[in-house]
Symmetry: C2
Subunit: 211 residues, 2 copies
Amino acid sequence: MENGAGHPEGLLLDEPSVGAPAGRRPRADAARNRAQILAAARRLFAEKDPRAVTMGDIARAAGVGRATLYRRFPDTASVAVALLDEHERELQGAMISGPPPLGPGAPPEERLAAFYAAMVDLLDRHLPLLLGAETGERRYTTGAYAFWRAHLRVLARAAGAPDPEALVEPLLAPLAPEAFAHQRDRAGLSPARIAAALAWSARRLLGGQDR
Amino acid sequence: MENGAGHPEGLLLDEPSVGAPAGRRPRADAARNRAQILAAARRLFAEKDPRAVTMGDIARAAGVGRATLYRRFPDTASVAVALLDEHERELQGAMISGPPPLGPGAPPEERLAAFYAAMVDLLDRHLPLLLGAETGERRYTTGAYAFWRAHLRVLARAAGAPDPEALVEPLLAPLAPEAFAHQRDRAGLSPARIAAALAWSARRLLGGQDR
DNA sequence: CATTCAAGCGGACACGGTGTCCACATAACC
DNA sequence: GGTTATGTGGACACCGTGTCCGCTTGAATG
């Protein structure tokens, strides 16, 4: 990486882009349907297992035909991604240009701990959506993931870790939606306790006692 | 936990039990079919995306009817679990009673590093099966997972970590099959490099300089 | 305000996978 | 060799997916 202080600037702060027509202003009924779809989907994801939500469910709950739904979203995961977009962009902004320790200016281990805390909060508040959006392999191909990855690579590098590229995945893996769901709902750990354990890990891993 | 040197003894060292008749000796044709099913499934999981393998695929490749397959295995994941059983039991045995550093007798951070190395090796050799067996949430409900969990809890406790229970998940998350697949096949990291990064993490996290 | 036309809509279809049922076959036991 | 319990697999109904095509409707134009 050339840029020493490099941040993953502009890596995923683009427009919503998922399910929204690009060129001209959308038609009134189209916009209304889109809003109905998103509202219905948010409800459905929350009230049953997000991975069991089908395209037919969403279309029926939104009061539109299935083909109308398919016109904008290729699958249920894309709907969830659209619902998550704004929350994730907000967090990304705070990471790039917000106040420390989440933003620039704090030592790497503290920035990592703050990132963990923010992500645990995001997971806690929007777990159904995240489960619906990032099921299985899809997690790694989504745009947001590339951003988290780039961010953590910068932090690992700044902390002088031996192989930042290879360290990124272990740092990010505990934030997998399924992992969080298991800890919170199956094992009964509070989000605060999960965040505390991650903060401890962050300081152990990137803390600068020897290097 | 009462048992100070406690190991999760007998937690998952039971009989294969998946798809094998329990009580009496199985019929000759049943045993033959079972072997054909497992052989065919192993082949299929290796040659295409394990998550795209269907019950019909396995039955056809094994030369048996679909209902025969359903008699033993409720879904494709169970077939993969049966194929993994022996490898995992072998590793579990080494962890409980094998030589250090994998077995008892080494400091926690070294045992964790050895566990990571062994798991990376298992993942590298049997990734298709693991992807087929532990897709998504199922990972957390499988028997083997409970064993890894218990093992890491013991190590974290021995290292004096503040909240071993909450630390287990972050320690285990990087070993999710999807995470490994992404690192090795998408990011192009060699298993050795992945293992090295995990070993470094293990020593930072559980290494005993300050506790 | 009437006309025109592209964009949006949704009912209907074909396909493929799942899980179950039941009539038949066959190995194991007497 | 006859009997029985177990194993087998073809067939069925159901559900979700993804696509096609004729109809509707909003918006731009004269």
